[in-house]
Structures are given as structure tokens and as C-alpha cells.
Amino acid sequence: MVENGEKEQKAHTIVIAVENKSGVLARIAGLFSARGYNIDSLCVSETEDPSISKMTLTVKGDERILEQIYKQLNKLIDVIKVFDLTEGDFIDRELALVKVKTLNAAARQDIMQIASIFRAKVVDIGRQSLTLEVAGKTSKVNAMIEMLKSYGIKEMIKTGKIAMAREFNQKK
């Protein structure tokens, strides 16, 4: 029997605890490409335990695809645990560096004001540009970037999301 209900594509935030060894990232990336799953963002780093790395991934898919992703990740020998944070309450942050054009003094003023509203920091300044550092939820980071677009963004880079379940209210 096959499920034929509608398939809702939902964004999921997954954290994977893996052995901190070379080749593990390739295994995970390879799994996603081989099985045709799309990664929207990926962030990898060490944890409090240097033998473990954590990867935060955002992926889109319906429930069945997510279930498969979860199982296939768990099947990799180097994967210690997979958490789908989307099910519970979690904290997530992202950091962006944005270099914006400052064609005149007025623009510069405006941009500084936008920065202060979003609690962004000015981390570099040039004759014709300002570089801002903003951190927070993806939606906030994106909102600021949106605001800055009309001034002309010369260069931008984001870390991708990192996430952690809250102490209470954890589901998975």
C-alpha cells in the first residue's frame, strides 16, 4: 500500500553528532547527493568533546523523505546521533558578514541606523563601503540583508545555521 496523501515540504533543522575524523563530512555530503536530498545549509564544528563534531543541516522534504534521511544518516558508521530539532523547541543562530556600498554620507547614516536596529556591528569601514556583522535567527539576518539590498551589497557571506535544543521542552 502506498501513501498518496499530499506531501508537505517542510524545512527541517537537523543536528548530527559525528566522530571527529577525516572523511566524515564527505560521507554525509555523499549520502545527500547520492540519494538526491538537497541541503540548504550546512555548518560543521567541534564540540565540547574534541572527539565529536556537530553538523547543523537545514533540509527540505516531506515526512517520508525526512524519515529516510534520518535513517540513512544513522546507518553511517561514524554518525553517533541524529537530532531533528524541528520537532521541539530549539535555539538557532546564524552569522553574516555584509559589505554594503556607501555612495554618500546620507546612505552611510541610513545603513548605520539599520545596523543599530538589527544590533549589527560595524566591523570594517572603507571609503565607499561599510562591513556589518549580524548574528541571530535566520529570519532576522535575512531581514537585514533585505533592507540593505537597495544600497547595493558588494559582498556577503553567511555561516549557515547552527542550532541546539533547549534544556526543557526537548522532544527528540
Binding site: M1, V2, R64, E67, K71, V79
Partner: protein, 555 residues
């Protein structure tokens, strides 16, 4: 001790006494230590042969098969064999030589990133960079290969690590924190399953290779006999209970029996054990078992609800779970259902026209005269499907065939590995004239090692299975499938290698020669059977059609 010596000792600790392999530059330190180690290294003639032989050894014996090759081309030649083992969940450990660690990444002579290449076709793989990691790695590799859902593991061993000095300390146990296969089925799920089985009116077992690899055949048979539930098999599940058992309905799927496919279509409860709902068995997925609730017992959670949504999943070892289910088993009142199936069986048996030398005749004949423990390896194509249809496999591990990958050239080297693991049994390779030419060089291996493998070529002078599709779906345009014009003289070929060769053209000739062939104990024997060229495999569910839409013959 050198790394190579440590490797040899570690392999001994794992009980390895046979390695199928081929040497090369960066494998020399290991080869040198193996030379007088007591481990029997069987020199193949192509590394692909080594991988398939290790695979056949593993499938037929249940032990881990081991193969080795040098770096670069040696390692890449293993790839098809590793992928074949991966697709059918066979425990194989492949050892490859690698260039020295300081050269890795420099495009050195015969360097390839074999751990990168085999990442998607191994259960796990390792590149050992330090001599002190050898023992733990070997221990882990064998453990991973044979536990949980088995699979191939590759160990890449650079030449300088083979030469480095180290100590041999073999761990008694290992603990891999990130790898804990589930063996016990959840008791509540088992209870739900039993309840569903008792309530079902038209229950049916669907049995795959997991039953064989977990050693669950006895339990399955007990359960089937106590309850009276009929059984259909995937290609990999054949032999898990005897093919001539009254409740055995043969293979389902694309070339399944009509009664097996009808049973799936009408069943109201499918008890799937150790199978993965490959497209060759489901046909059109939307209409697969349309009336059935599905219980799925499998050790790999990712197999569950991957292709087919399952109602009652039970993750765990098939043997373990079936032994629990058997405890409650009792006779079910499903007489009407069984009668219906038996009527189908009578009305739609497998048939073929009996004129000339027919492949079906050959298989039936062999099935009738071989002992129950004879092991049949196959190549891929029509030869494989006729074997699956007409041979009654009566014991587990008596069919060695490439199911998932469908690798032509698998059968013969796999038969070599099978014969090595089972020196006292009769081992056959049912071959096609196309497939056998893919690893024919292994005749030298079989002759040298006095392995009396019997090769039965169902010679139709063409790539029959592909030709069948062209005949049915490509307007009889036979693109690149005719071998007739340059078919080698297989008898002379056998002779050239020092094997025995016969050619037969009729049933009488076949009947006459075969007792002599089966008696041969020293040399490989090749029987080139010139079968009727146009014969096709039926029934057939065309790709993408539902299981009950079977073609019976040519329109």
C-alpha cells in the same frame, strides 16, 4: 613486528585462512608476509575475480570473505565486486595496498582515492595511516562486515604503514559507540504482528535474503508449517525453505510465477521478512499488494517504509523475531485461501515448449538429479532467471547469484569461492555465453587450484535477456546483442586452460554427458549447451506494470 606482519596476525585472529588476491607494488610487504603465513592466498587472474570469489565464499558459507589487491588499477578492479557484495549485503573484507602516506594526494604512480571511490558501495571503509591502528581497524572491519545488515568493508593500507614497526596487541572486544545494530524485535510490535496474522484471511509470507543471512530458515519453516501460511520468495530468498515444499510458491516479481504474483495481489496480509521491496519484485509500486496490510521484519531500519509504506514494522534480526513468533504459532483457518492458491498453481504452472534443447529442461534436469546440498551459482540474464524459476533450491545458501547489482561475470569467480569454501560439495555455475566471457580468465585459477567447478553455459549465441527486451519493446531491433559471429569455441577454450570441455546440442547428449560431468573431482568442467536461440523467459511483468499484468509469451 612490521605493519604487514601485524596485518597477517590480525587476519589470523579473525579466523581468516583463505584470501583471494592479486599482487602489485605497494602490496609487496603484505604479500611477502603472507607467503609463508599459513593463510592460503588464491591467486586469481583479475582482481574482479578476487572480489566475486570472496563474495561467493561468504554467501555459500556464512563466513566473511577476504580479497586483496594492489593500489590504483588493482583497487579499481575490485570495485564491481565490492558493489555487488554491497547490494546483496554480503560480508566481505577487501584489503588494498596504497601508496606511501607522504605521497597520498600527489597523484603518485598507481594512486587512487579508493576509500573515496568505494564510499557509497561499502558499509564502511578505512585508510590506515598509522601502524598502531591496524589491529583495531581489522577488528572493527570484520565486526562491521558481519554484524547487523552485513556488507563489504574496505581497508586501504599504505605501503609505508606495512613496513613500519609496531606492536601486536589484538583487542578482545570492541565497542563502536556510533554503531549498535538492533537484534531484538520490539515485543509490542511482535504482539501486534501476531494479532494481525491471526486475524488475516489471506496471509502470505514474502521472504528475502535476510532470512538466509540471519540463519532463520528453520524458524521460518516451523512457523510456516505450524500456521499453514504460503510463501513467495525474492531471488535472494530462494532456498530459505525448500522450493518443493507444498507451501512454497516460487519467486515473485518480474519473472515470478503467476501464482506467486496472483497471491501477492490478492493477499490481505503480507509478512515480509528480510527483503527490501526492490522494483523488480514490486512492479508498479502504487498497485503492489493493493489489499494487504504489511508487516516488515528487517534488521535495517532504513529498509522499512523506504519503497513501500509498512503497517507493522519490526526492526531486528529475522531469526530472533521469527523464533519469538513461532512460540505462539498455531494452525490458521485459511483453507479457502490456500485452496485458491493451489488452484492457481495447477492452472498456471511454469511451462515451456518441449522441442529441442531447452534451457528450462536443462535446469529441471539438474534440479532433479543434484543432491540437496549442491550449490548453484549463476551469471546474469536469462540463465539466471531460468535457474530461479526451474531449480528447486532445497537448502539455504545453495543459490549464489547477484541479485541487486545484476553483475554479469559474477557467477564463475563466485563459484570458485564457493568451491573453496565447500570442497566436498558439487558447485555449478549456470552461465550465459555473454556473461561467462566476462571472467573466463578464472579458468586458470580453477585449474591451478584443482577446483572442479562445473560451468553449464546456456549458449543462445546472444545477450539473451537484452535481446528479449528488444524483441518485446524495441521492435525487434537487435542492437549490439548478437554474439553469434564471433562466438568462441568454448570447448577449445576449456582445453587451452587445461580444463575439460564438452559441447551438447540435444537433450540426449545433455542427459548422456551430465553424470560424467558431475563426477569430476579434480578439474573444472565446462559444458557448452547450444540451446534454442529464441527461447525467452516467461511469465514477465513489463517494467512499470502491475504484478498481475504478466506476459505469457510472444503475442
Amino acid at each position: 613486528m612490521t605493519g604487514a606482519e601485524i596485518m597477517v596476525e590480525a587476519l589470523k585472529k579473525e579466523g581468516v585462512d583463505i584470501i583471494f588476491g592479486y599482487p602489485g607494488g605497494v602490496l609487496l610487504p603484505l604479500c611477502d608476509k603472507l607467503y609463508d603465513s599459513g593463510i592460503n592466498v588464491i591467486l586469481v587472474r583479475h582482481e574482479q575475480g578476487a572480489a566475486h570469489a570472496a563474495d561467493g565464499y561468504a554467501r555459500s558459507s556464512g563466513r566473511v570473505g577476504v580479497c586483496m589487491a594492489t593500489s590504483g588499477p588493482g583497487a579499481t578492479n575490485l570495485v564491481t565486486g565490492i558493489a555487488t557484495a554491497y547490494m546483496d549485503s554480503v560480508p566481505v573484507v577487501a584489503i588494498t595496498g596504497q601508496v606511501a602516506t607522504h605521497l597520498i594526494g600527489s597523484d603518485a604512480f598507481q594512486e587512487v582515492d579508493i576509500t573515496g571511490i568505494t564510499r557509497p558501495i561499502t558499509k564502511h571503509n578505512y585508510l590506515i595511516k598509522d601502524v598502531k591502528d591496524i589491529t583495531r581497524t581489522v577488528k572493527e572491519a570484520f565486526y562491521i562486515a558481519k554484524s547487523g545488515r552485513p556488507g563489504p568493508v574496505l581497508i586501504d593500507l599504505p605501503v609505508d604503514v606495512q613496513r613500519a614497526e609496531g606492536k601486536f596487541e589484538y583487542p578482545d572486544e570492541i565497542e563502536i559507540r556510533s554503531y549498535k545494530p538492533t537484534y531484538e524485535g520490539h515485543p509490542l510490535q511482535i504482539e501486534r504482528a501476531w494479532k494481525a496474522i491471526k486475524e488475516a484471511k489471506r496471509p502470505l509470507f514474502l521472504v528475502g535474503g535476510g532470512v538466509i543471512s540471519s540463519g532463520a530458515s528453520e524458524h521460518l519453516r516451523n512457523f510456516v508449517e505450524k500456521t499453514g501460511i504460503p510463501v513467495v520468495f525474492t531471488l535472494m530468498g530462494l532456498g530459505s525453505i525448500p522450493g518443493d515444499h507444498p507451501l512454497a510458491l516460487g519467486m515473485l516479481g518480474m519473472h515470478g510465477t503467476k501464482y506467486a504474483n496472483y497471491a501477492v495481489v490478492e493477499s490481505d496480509l503480507l509478512i515480509a521478512v528480510g527483503c527490501r521491496f526492490d522494483d523488480r519484485i514490486t512492479g508498479k509500486i502504487e498497485t503492489f499488494a493493493p489489499h494487504a496490510k504489511i508487516i516488515h521484519i528487517d534488521i535495517d531500519p532504513s529498509s522499512i517504509s523506504k519503497n513501500i509504506v509498512v503497517d507493522i514494522p519490526i526492526v531486528g534480526d529475522a531469526k530472533n523475531i521469527l523464533s519469538k513468533l513461532v512460540e505462539n504459532a498455531e494452525k490458521l483457518h485459511i483453507e479457502a485461501w490456500v485452496k485458491k492458491i493451489m488452484d492457481w498453481k495447477e492452472k498456471h504452472p511454469l511451462t515451456y515448449e518441449k522441442n529441442g534443447l531447452k534451457p528450462q529442461y536443462i535446469i529441471e534436469k539438474l534440479s532433479g538429479m543434484l543432491p540437496d546440498d549442491a550449490i548453484i551459482c549463476t551469471e546474469v540474464g536469462q540463465n539466471q532467471m531460468w535457474t530461479a524459476q526451474y531449480y528447486k533450491f532445497r537448502k539455504p545458501r545453495t543459490l549464489v547469484t547477484s541479485g541487486g547489482l545484476g553483475t554479469m561475470g559474477f557467477g564463475f569467480p563466485a563459484a570458485i569461492g564457493t568451491q573453496v569454501a565447500n570442497p566436498d560439495k558439487i558447485v555449478l555455475d549456470i552461465a550465459g555465453d555473454g556473461s561467462i566471457q566476462m571472467n573466463i580468465q578464472e579458468l586458470a585459477t580453477a585449474v591451478y587450484n584443482k577446483l572442479p567447478v562445473k560451468i553449464i553455459i546456456l549458449n543462445n549465441r546472444c545477450l539473451g535477456m537484452v535481446r528479449q527486451w528488444q524483441q518485446l519493446f524495441y521492435k525487434k531491433r537487435y542492437a549490439f546483442t548478437c554474439l553469434e559471429d564471433a562466438e568462441p569455441d568454448f570447448v577449445k577454450l576449456a582445453d587451452a586452460y587445461g580444463a575439460i570441455g564438452y559441447r551438447v546440442n540435444s537433450t540426449e547428449e545433455f542427459d548422456k554427458i551430465i553424470p560424467k560431468v558431475l563426477k569430476e573431482k579434480e578439474k573444472p568442467v565446462l559444458v557448452d549447451c547450444w540451446i534454442c536461440e529464441e527461447e525467452n523467459v516467461f511469465p514477465m511483468v513489463p517494467a512499470g506494470a502491475s504484478l498481475d499484468q504478466m506476459l505469457e509469451g510472444l503475442a
